[in-house]
C-alpha cells in the first residue's frame, strides 16, 4: 500500500519532469490565485489586528459623549466631532453634572479645533485640544518627556501645553528639544511642558493638548465642549454608566441631541465592514484560482490523451479503473498543490518584507486554506479527465498510438 502511494507520487513527478514547462505554466495559474488570496487574507487580518490594537490602546472602559446622534463620518476620533454642525454644544454645566457620576473615575471635557500652529518659525496645521488634567489617564497616553499638565494648571488657566510625539518632531525636530518651547496657536501662546507618545490616531498624534480653561481665553470664548471623555471605574460598569450618563443629560437635552458612544463597539462595526470587504476581495481573488483550475483540467485532458497507451498497459497488468482514476487525480492534485506551495511561499516572503511598513499578517487559517484549496481544485478539476482515463477500454487504449 505504502509502496503504491510512493509509486503514484513517483509517476506524477516523472511526468512533470518530462513536461517541465507545461507543469510550471499550469501550476503558475494556481500559484497566482493562491498568492492573491493569501495576500488579501493577510491584508484583512493585518488591518483588523491593527484596528483592534488601536481600540485597545484607547482602553476598554472609555465612553464618549457627543452631540447629535450617530457619527458624522470620518475615521478618526476627532473628525467625527468637528463635522457636527448645527447641533448642540455642551458647556460647563454639563461638565459639572457629569463629574458627579458615581460610575466614572474620570470625566474629561474636550474642545477640539484645527488651526495653523507656529513654533520657532515652523508652521503646521494641527489640532488644539482643550482638555482636563485626566486626559492622559483616560486615553492611556504615555508621557515620554516632561509631564502632563495638572489640576492647578487647569485651575489657573495656565498657558501650557502637552504636545504629541509626531507633532513635536514636525515643529521642533525631536522630542527632547520641545520642552520649554513656545507654540503659537492663533493669538494663544503656550509653553510645552510635556510630550506624549503617539497613539496611532493621526489626529491625536498631530495635536497639542492645553487645559480647557486656557482655551476660554481666546479660542473658545463661548466655553463650549464638543465631547466628554469618560473613564468608567471598571469594565463591568460600562452599561450602568451609560444609563447614568443618559439620565443626567436627559434632564437638559432631548434624546436625539446627544449620544453616548462605546468605542469598543466601533471595533465590532469596523471589523464587520472589514470582513465584508475582505470577503468580496477574496471572492474576486478566487476567480484566478478557478481559472487556474480550468488550466489544470485542460492539461490533464491533454495528459490523458497523451498517455492513453500507458493506461492500456497498466490495465493489462492489473490496474483497476479505480487505480487509474486515483493515479490521475493524484497527478492533478500534486500539480495544483505545487502551485499552492509556491504561491504561499511567495506570499510569506512578501508579508515578511512588507509587514515592517504595513500591517500584514498570515495565520494558520491562511496557510491551511492556501494548501487545502489547491487540493480541492486539483481533485475537482482533475476528476473529469481522470474519469475519462479510467473509462478507457483497455484494448482500445493499448492499441492507441
Amino acid at each position: 500500500m505504502q509502496n503504491g502511494v510512493i509509486h503514484l507520487i513517483k509517476t506524477a513527478f516523472s511526468d512533470f519532469k518530462r513536461n517541465k514547462i507545461r507543469t510550471f505554466l499550469t501550476s503558475l495559474g494556481i500559484m497566482i490565485g493562491v498568492l492573491s488570496v493569501v495576500m488579501l487574507l493577510a491584508l484583512g487580518l493585518g488591518l483588523k489586528n491593527y484596528l483592534k490594537q488601536q481600540f485597545e490602546d484607547l482602553g476598554t472602559n472609555l465612553l464618549m459623549v457627543i452631540p447629535g446622534s450617530g457619527f458624522g463620518g470620518g475615521g478618526s476620533l476627532g473628525q467625527g466631532f468637528t463635522s457636527l454642525a448645527g447641533s448642540i454644544r455642551f458647556d460647563d454645566r454639563d461638565y459639572r453634572s457629569l463629574k458627579r457620576l458615581s460610575t466614572a473615575r474620570y470625566v474629561v471635557p474636550g474642545h477640539i479645533e484645527s488651526m495653523t500652529l507656529e513654533a520657532g518659525g515652523t508652521t503646521k496645521t494641527a489640532s488644539v485640544q482643550g482638555v482636563s488634567e485626566d486626559f492622559d489617564e483616560v486615553f492611556n497616553l504615555e508621557v515620554i518627556s516632561g509631564e502632563f499638565f495638572d489640576s492647578s494648571d487647569v485651575a489657573s488657566s495656565a498657558k501650557v501645553c502637552v504636545i504629541a510625539e509626531d507633532l513635536s518632531k514636525d515643529l521642533f525636530g525631536d522630542v527632547e528639544s520641545a520642552i520649554g518651547k513656545t507654540v503659537h496657536a492663533k493669538s494663544l501662546r503656550v509653553r510645552v511642558v510635556g510630550v506624549v507618545k503617539n497613539m496611532g490616531d493621526p489626529e491625536q498624534d498631530n495635536s497639542i493638548m492645553v487645559p480647557y480653561t486656557t482655551t476660554y481665553l481666546t479660542l473658545n470664548p463661548d466655553k463650549e465642549f464638543l465631547a466628554f471623555y469618560i473613564g468608567v471605574s471598571n469594565e463591568e460598569m460600562i452599561k450602568e454608566s451609560i444609563e447614568e450618563i443618559e439620565e443626567v443629560l436627559l434632564k437638559r437635552y432631548e434624546e436625539d441631541e446627544f449620544e453616548v458612544i462605546e468605542p469598543s463597539k466601533f471595533l465590532d462595526a469596523f471589523s464587520q465592514i472589514l470582513n465584508a470587504v475582505n470577503a468580496v476581495l477574496i471572492a474576486i481573488g478566487s476567480i484566478s484560482l478557478i481559472v487556474g483550475g480550468i488550466g489544470i483540467m485542460n492539461i490533464m485532458y491533454a495528459t490523458v490523451t497523451e498517455r492513453t497507451k500507458e493506461v492500456g498497459i497498466r490495465r493489462a497488468i492489473g490496474a483497476t479503473e479505480k487505480n487509474i482514476l486515483i493515479q490521475f487525480l493524484v497527478e492533478s492534485t500534486i500539480l495544483s498543490l505545487l502551485g499552492g506551495l509556491a504561491g504561499l511561499s511567495i506570499a510569506g516572503l512578501i508579508v515578511i518584507l512588507v509587514s515592517q511598513f504595513f500591517p500584514l499578517e498570515i495565520n494558520i487559517l491562511a496557510v491551511s486554506l492556501s494548501l487545502g484549496i489547491p487540493c480541492l481544485i486539483g481533485i475537482t478539476f482533475g476528476v473529469f479527465p481522470a474519469k475519462k482515463a479510467a473509462n478507457l477500454t483497455p484494448i482500445e487504449a493499448i492499441r492507441s498510438k
Partner: protein, 224 residues
Amino acid sequence: MIKLQNVCKSYYLGEEEVKAVCNATLEIKAKEYVSILGTSGSGKSTLMYLIGLLEQPTSGKIFLDDQDVSKLSDEELSHIRNRTVGFVFQSFNLINRFTVLENVLLPTHYLKGQLDFDPRKRAEDLLEKFGILERKHFFPNKISGGQQQRVAMVRALIMNPKIILADEPTGNLDSKTGSEILDLMEGLNKDFGVTVVLVTHEKAVARRTRRQIYIKDGLIVDKY
C-alpha cells in the same frame, strides 16, 4: 485451465456490428504451449484478449480454473489479470519514462494485498536470467528491441503468473532476435511451467508450439 464456451465478441463500428470472434469454444490446459494462428483481422488478438480477461465477451462463457469469469467486476478481473496473466505485446509496450527495473516492478504496485516475494530481488533475478540485468537502470528507448521484449517478458513474469499471452512477440524484431525470443518463450513453458499462448500470423512461428488453434474471420477452424 482456461475454457471458452460459445464465446462471441462484437464491436460496433458506427451502426455496423463487427463480429470479431464468433462462437469460439476451446480449452487450453495448464502448462500447454499453444499458438493461435490467423491472418491480420481474423480476430486472433481479440481471442487472446478474451482469454487474458482484458475483454468481456458479448455472449458465451469463460472459465478460469473452472470459475466462470465472464461476469466478474472490473476490480475482480483486474486482480486476476494481475496475479494470473502476463501479457507480452508486439510493440513491447514498456513505459518509456520509467527505467527497465521500474517497468518490471509495475505489476507489483497493483496487487491487492501482500506480495509473497521481495519484488526487487525477484525482478533482478529474472532480469539476470534473461541477460539484461546490467540494463536495469536504462530507459526502454535506450535499449534494443530484443532487449525491450525481454524486459516485457520479465514484467509478464514478475507476479509469477499461470499463463503468458504473447501477441505477435516477434513482429517488431528481426528474424534472429525473434528466434531468440521464441526460444525464451519455449523456456518459459518448459523451465517455469507456465502456460504460453502465442498469437501469430506466421505459420513458421506457430509451428514451434505444440498445438495450433486456427482462426479465420472470427471463427475457430480445424484447418488453415
